[in-house]
């Protein structure tokens, strides 16, 4: 990165608190593909001058995959540790690029003593745009066909369908909706801890079914808002040997590219 990423510890040492805590998440921290999403988001925040901190080494898994696999012990161990750290920094607002982190922090932490305002990166950027801080221009994506794959944990789980679409519309791209979108969106196949295991026996994998649907519109880009969806759709596109023609990109990557960041 050509600018400095500051941790909460560094802010605290200066006696300051950033506007928002960016919760990077495990995928965003370790997965090579998801790291690009993390960086793109940081570039946008940096460009428009949003002060943000990360936890860095103090961040842990939110516990989402353990929870949904049924392991309440491991989940709460993570959750209570994270809450202790977040409360120690008196964190008020959290933004995250992962709908699974977003859902867990927002919905499952409060009853364990973690009360924060949690937003998904698309919601955060939408607000910045409405406040006039973020300006989006179509740039490279003007007129190109983009289809958006709703992440279950942003959409159905938390009723957020508009924020990602509002951002995409600002790219002046041709946004085409799949038949299974919004409340009827089809899972990418990774949720509920499926990301970490082989799928059960069936006719085909879920991400193949979903990618097939997305590719039927012959888009230039399949837009995602979740690092796991991103992986699953990327694998799907490769399965159909379309990775030369069709890009799978997170919305923040599209915004960063449109802006030549």
């Amino acid at each position: 990165m050509d600018f400095n990423i500051k941790t909460m510890a560094e802010y605290a040492a200066e006696g300051k608190a950033p506007e928002v805590l960016f919760w990077v998440g495990c995928a965003g921290s370790f997965d090579d593909r998801a790291k690009k999403i993390t960086k793109a988001f940081c570039k946008i925040l940096n460009k428009i001058g949003v002060e943000f901190g990360v936890l860095g080494q103090e961040e842990s898994c939110t516990g989402d995959p353990a929870k949904r696999a049924g392991n309440e012990f491991v989940f709460q161990m993570m959750a209570l540790t994270n809450i202790e750290v977040l409360n120690a920094y008196e964190v008020k607002k959290i933004v995250t690029a992962c709908p699974h982190c977003f859902n867990t922090l927002k919905n499952e932490y409060p009853s364990l003593g973690g009360h924060f305002e949690v937003v998904h990166h698309t919601q955060f950027l939408k607000t910045l745009m409405e406040e006039g801080r973020l300006k989006i221009e179509g740039g490279a994506f003007k007129g190109k066909k983009i289809t958006f794959h709703d992440p279950c944990y942003l959409g159905r789980a938390n009723n957020e369908y508009e924020a990602p679409r509002i951002l995409l519309e600002k790219l002046d791209a041709e946004l085409v909706e799949m038949k299974r979108c919004k409340t009827n969106g089809l899972c990418c196949g990774a949720g509920g801890a499926q990301m970490f295991k082989e799928p059960e026996k069936g006719n085909k994998d879920i991400n193949i079914e979903r990618t097939e649907e997305a590719l039927s519109f012959e888009p230039k880009v399949i837009a995602t808002g979740c690092p796991f969806c991103n992986t699953m759709m990327t694998d799907g596109v490769k399965h159909f040997n379309k990775n030369e023609e069709v890009a799978v990109k997170d919305i923040v990557e599209l915004l960063a590219e449109a802006d030549d960041l």
């Binding site: 990165m1 990423i5 936890l55 898994c61 938390n158 059960e200 879920i206 979903r210």
Partner: protein
């Protein structure tokens, strides 16, 4: 002897409703076998949800064809039940078309004409449903999991409703024809039966018309009693239980899974550096420890989940949108509810026979619902979104996964690895926590 009709009627009425009440009590008792759950918060939102979803059918119409046909049958069913009041009064007191004496001529005509139109709409509805289900090949209605009783049950319901409506129209036509001949006082208006069946009935003799009117009246009445008592054995229970199911529905965000309080206490104790691990538990603390984590059998599920199992009408909207099912995996959310109900019924019969539940060596897990089904779920909530009456099969899947992991350590190996990683490295992959910020320097 002139009262014999009324006496028979009264006996049938009392027996019919009595048996029905007995069935309802049995269902109530079985639901009580589940764990208590507090869903008495947000009362106004609950009433609103029930009014919108159960009475207003707001989710049914998301699939317009089935939704509108269902609306015909639903509205017809509700309004035609007002007719039941008239039948009961007429039956007990030997009156004829009792409501006409209260409603006045014009309004009674309007009332009977409305019923006629609705009866026709119900007939259209059930005929199309029958064709859709048996010949048209709607995938969710022709899946293997419905073979046997569920399929027959569905057809019986449609046939009974069809027969009841036909009897209703026959009764009206005979009445109308007799009114035309001046043999019965003129009450009501019968636009459908007079035009559809009227021309045929005009040729019948007076005696046969009287007989037909009476016979159809009795058939209609006995049919309603029969249908009411058939409900207990049928998936058609939803006509009653859709109401409590929507009232008790989960109002939280779909992504919010419950946190086990008993675990919180343990972990807090673990994390507290001042806690004495050997300290005797505080008075009464022992009762807080759950006997079991998650659900292995129906006793471990909560009462709303059991109510859900009885409320499911097996429409399969959940299964038709389930990503696992779509891609050929064994999981079917509908089947999760059906199997829960089957097991609950089995336990109920066990209690009927033995006075209390005697271990039968079976469990909901493995004997009914397999691990393979449970592990195929992506927790995407497509099923709960699709359910027209807000049932929650996902919560059952989740509780059973909890049992598998926390009681039996029976997760798939890769998931065990993931959980170990989360526990030791604070990430689902085996990376060092100290490397979390490496991306910033790449």
């Amino acid at each position: 002897m002139q009262y014999i009709d009324n006496v028979i009627f009264l006996i049938l009425l009392v027996a019919g409703f009595g048996l029905f009440a007995k069935s309802l009590l049995k269902i109530y008792r079985n639901i009580q076998l589940g764990k208590e759950i507090n869903r008495s918060d947000k009362k106004s939102e609950r009433w609103e949800t029930m009014a919108r979803v159960a009475m207003g059918q707001s989710k049914m119409v998301k699939r317009p064809v089935a939704g509108i046909l269902h609306l015909f049958v639903y509205v017809g069913f509700i309004i035609i039940n007002i007719e039941l009041i008239e039948i009961i009064v007429d039956g007990i007191f030997g009156t004829h078309r009792f409501l006409s004496s209260i409603f006045g001529h014009a309004f009674y005509s309007f009332f009977t004409a409305t019923l006629e139109v609705l009866a026709l709409l119900v007939i259209i509805g059930v005929v199309v449903f029958f064709i859709r289900r048996n010949f048209y090949g709607v995938k969710r209605l022709t899946m293997k999991e419905l073979f046997g009783w569920p399929k027959h049950d569905a057809n019986w319901i449609l046939i009974i409703e069809f027969a009841l409506m036909i009897a209703f129209l026959k009764m009206n036509t005979a009445d109308w024809a007799l009114q035309q001949r001046g043999l019965l006082p003129e009450h009501g208006s019968f636009p459908i039966s007079s035009t559809l069946l009227g021309p045929i009935f005009s040729n019948f003799s007076d005696g046969f018309l009287f007989f037909t009117e009476k016979a159809a009246w009795w058939f209609h009445f006995v049919g309603i009693l029969f249908f009411m008592n058939y409900l207990y054995y049928s998936k058609h229970l939803h006509i009653i239980l859709a109401f409590p199911s929507t009232w008790f529905a989960n109002l939280d965000k779909k992504g919010k899974f419950n946190n086990l309080e008993s675990v919180t206490k343990e972990i807090k104790l673990m994390m507290d550096p001042n806690a004495d691990p050997y300290a005797a538990p505080a008075e009464g603390a022992e009762s807080d420890v759950p006997s079991k984590f998650g659900a292995e059998d129906i006793f471990d599920l909560n009462q709303v989940q059991l109510l859900n199992a009885y409320s499911c009408t097996e429409c399969g909207r959940c299964t038709s949108v389930c990503p696992a099912n779509i891609t050929g995996k064994k999981l079917s959310p509908r089947l999760i509810l059906m199997k829960t109900r089957d097991r609950l019924e089995e336990v109920g019969k066990n209690i009927d026979k033995n006075g209390k539940f005697v271990d039968d060596g079976k469990k909901l897990l493995n004997d009914y619902i397999t691990k393979e089904e449970l592990w195929a779920c992506t927790t995407c909530n497509a099923c709960t979104e699709a359910c027209p009456i807000l049932l929650d099969p996902l919560s059952i899947i989740f509780e059973m996964r909890r049992f598998l992991v926390m009681e039996q350590s029976a997760a798939p190996q890769e998931l065990n690895l993931m959980m170990t990683n989360v526990e030791n490295n604070a990430a689902p992959w085996q990376y060092n926590q100290a490397d979390r910020l490496n991306w910033a320097n790449d």
